[in-house]
């Protein structure tokens, strides 16, 4: 039997906190070793309770903004091996990009409603504790559909299947997991990924945790353009 996953839960909402603890009691392989209700408590718990993984709300006291993301950044330095899954009510990709800014290994970004499916949540916690990444599919789908809507988007150079594969890569799935989901061989997935990364000019030999961030950043950039500083054409005269 595998050792149970040691989990620190940080959530300021009492109802949700109690609910998650109760849900996880049904799983022998997960043990909640500490709960925290704000940013400082979370950092203390991460120091003292020796967790394998942290499940944290994005928005907690003291500022009720992005404590979860900031805690994840801090923990990357103090506890590099510790996995962090951030639960969020925001489907905007910006926060996910912040979370993986310093690498996506051992990081997860899930919409809060995912806790309703406890099996999925526990699988994500395991994945992240083992150094993998999990990015909520709503976030990735939003990026992909926005990128595809852009006229002459570079995404249009990908085949339908390749776009599927890229989506799964951005969600943090391993080649094996993608192969299983799409019912193809590992080898086929590898070929697709090489082809995608060549077509999009992304470094194809990057390790798994790099390619998640690379894919997310790429997808994000497809929908946003920044001109060089200078005048904005057409708005100069008033």
């Amino acid at each position: 039997m595998i050792a149970p996953l040691r989990l620190v839960l940080a959530e300021d909402g009492e109802l949700l906190r109690a609910g998650i603890v109760a849900l996880l009691e049904g799983y022998d392989d997960v043990r909640v070793v500490a709960v925290a209700t704000d940013y400082d408590e979370l950092l203390v718990a991460a120091d003292e309770a020796e967790p394998d993984v942290v499940l944290t709300d994005i928005r907690m006291p003291p500022t009720l903004t992005d404590e979860g993301i900031r805690a994840a950044g801090r923990l990357r330095e103090t506890h590099p091996e510790l996995g962090v899954v951030v639960l969020t009510q925001y489907a905007d990709a910006e926060y996910a990009l912040d979370l993986v800014a310093s690498g996506s290994q051992g990081r997860g970004y899930l919409l809060k409603e995912r806790v309703a499916n406890a099996d999925e949540l526990v699988a994500a916690l395991r994945e992240v504790a083992a150094g993998g990444s999990v990015i909520d599919e709503t976030v990735v789908d939003g990026l992909v559909s926005a990128g595809s809507r852009q006229p002459d988007s570079s995404l249009s150079r990908l085949t339908r299947r390749e776009l599927d594969v890229l989506t799964h890569v951005a969600r943090g799935m391993s080649n094996q997991a993608i192969a299983a989901t799409l019912s193809v061989t590992d080898r086929a997935v590898e070929k697709h990924i090489n082809s995608i990364f060549t077509k999009l000019d992304l470094p194809s030999d990057s390790p798994l945790h790099r390619r998640v961030a690379a894919a997310l950043v790429y997808l994000n950039d497809v929908g946003t353009a920044e001109p060089p500083t200078g005048s904005v054409p057409g708005t100069a005269r008033w």
């Binding site: 903004t65 409603e113 309703a116 990026l143 926005a146 929908g223 904005v232 708005t235 008033w238």
Partner: protein, 398 residues
């Protein structure tokens, strides 16, 4: 030549233009009046001198105004000032009784043109006026001792006082009128802001009522159903009802998330305009691109006005324009400016009802201290532009 002057003249702010005209007219009028008295009357030499001063002042003013296309608003101001100085010095030289009036005449251009001068021109004008007023007063005291011709000086004083008082009255009346109009505009735009805010709140209330709340009520019915099913031992049915509950709950969560974002997007509060707009552009049903320079954070009022105005423009482009591409441009130097341009079918701005979304956008931008312009014509696409003049800039003259 005539159109050259006309174009330059048209660019000067109307109030300043009107004052320059009144000033020139009264100067020419009083010159003519004195000339008539001089020709009909006993040819007093004093009158001759004052007349020469008035003619000189008129020439200076008219010549200065003729150069308006080159010199612009500061040129108009300095022409007025120069004419006033000629009048003051000349008048006091020949008729020291005029000194209080001369001081007043030198002050008027400064009072009237104050809003139209930049910092440097204003400093220059203040220095000129200060020095001149002092000199005029001193000159008058010095000349008073050696002057003569008492009755004629009283006459010229009487004529000039009449003209100057009329000019001052007109100027003051205009300023009061202006203030009154501004106050009226302000009252109107405040009530428009309140109306727009009310409309937004009403639609929010509707969305909450018809959406999330209905769903939650439905879910509480389902919950009691589940309880009954469990009591009756119909566990399969109960499980199905629970699945249903779970789905309904997800939909409610999504609706609330969208509503919350519609009230005030967290990204806007935390990361500012560019990031929030990029996210909004991604969600837009018509492909939208954000072209923006890195931008400093603006005041919350300006940020939310710009954000929601652009959002509305984006939604309008998606709903009405048939455009296949929208471009959002954001620009911060020297003033915050934005433009939302679509490639759609466009419309005639005069034909849309003024109560619609365009008014809401305009009111929002104006309340935050900006101006909004809509450029559209059938077949031309639509461009919405907003501009926020800096506080140090000229006052919002419209």
């Amino acid at each position: 030549m005539v159109t050259w002057f006309h174009d330059g003249w048209e660019r000067v702010e109307p109030r300043l233009r009107r004052f320059a005209l009144i000033d020139a007219a009264s100067l020419v009028f009083s010159t003519a009046l004195l000339a008539v008295v001089y020709l009909l009357g006993p040819w007093y030499p004093d009158l001759q001198q004052i007349l020469a001063v008035l003619v000189a002042a008129s020439v200076v003013l008219i010549a200065g105004l003729a150069l308006t296309p080159v010199l612009g608003e500061p040129g108009v101001t300095f022409s007025l000032l120069a004419a006033a100085l000629v009048f003051a010095f000349g008048g006091v030289w020949f008729s020291p009784f005029l000194s209080p009036l001369a001081v007043l005449v030198v002050l008027i251009p400064l009072i009237v043109a104050y809003p139209y001068l930049g910092r440097r021109s204003l400093t220059a004008a203040v220095v000129v006026v200060l020095v001149s007023v002092t000199t005029v007063a001193a000159l008058a005291e010095q000349r008073r001792m050696i002057s003569e011709g008492f009755p004629m000086q009283v006459f010229s004083l009487a004529v000039s006082v009449l003209v100057v008082v009329i000019v001052i009255m007109v100027v003051i009346r205009q300023n009061y009128q202006e203030l009154h109009d501004r106050a009226e505009q302000l009252r109107e735009s405040r009530s428009q802001v309140a109306n727009v805010a009310d409309t937004a709140r009403r639609s929010l209330e509707r969305d909450l009522h018809d959406g999330a709340q209905q769903r939650l009520v439905g879910m509480s019915v389902l919950i009691s159903l589940v309880r009954q099913l469990i009591d009756r031992g119909e566990l399969d049915e109960a499980r199905r009802a629970l699945d249903d509950l779970g789905e309904q709950n997800l939909v409610a969560i999504n609706e609330l998330r969208e509503l919350a974002r519609g009230i005030y997007p967290q990204l806007l509060a935390e990361r500012g305009l560019v990031v929030a707009l990029a996210a909004a552009a991604r969600r837009s049903t018509v492909p939208a691109t954000v072209l923006a320079e890195p931008l400093e954070r603006q005041s919350p009022e300006v940020e939310s006005a710009v954000y929601f105005c652009i959002l509305e423009a984006l939604q309008n482009a998606a709903k009405h324009s048939g455009a296949d591409q929208v471009e959002i441009r954001l620009h911060a130097d020297p003033h915050l400016e934005f433009a939302v341009a679509d490639t759609g079918r466009g419309f005639d701005p005069a034909s849309v009802e003024p109560e619609g979304g365009l008014l809401g956008m305009e009111v929002r931008i104006r309340a935050a201290g900006g101006v909004l312009r809509v450029d559209s014509a059938p077949g031309q696409g639509t461009t919405i532009r907003g501009l926020f003049p800096g506080a140090a800039d000229r006052p919002p003259v419209r």
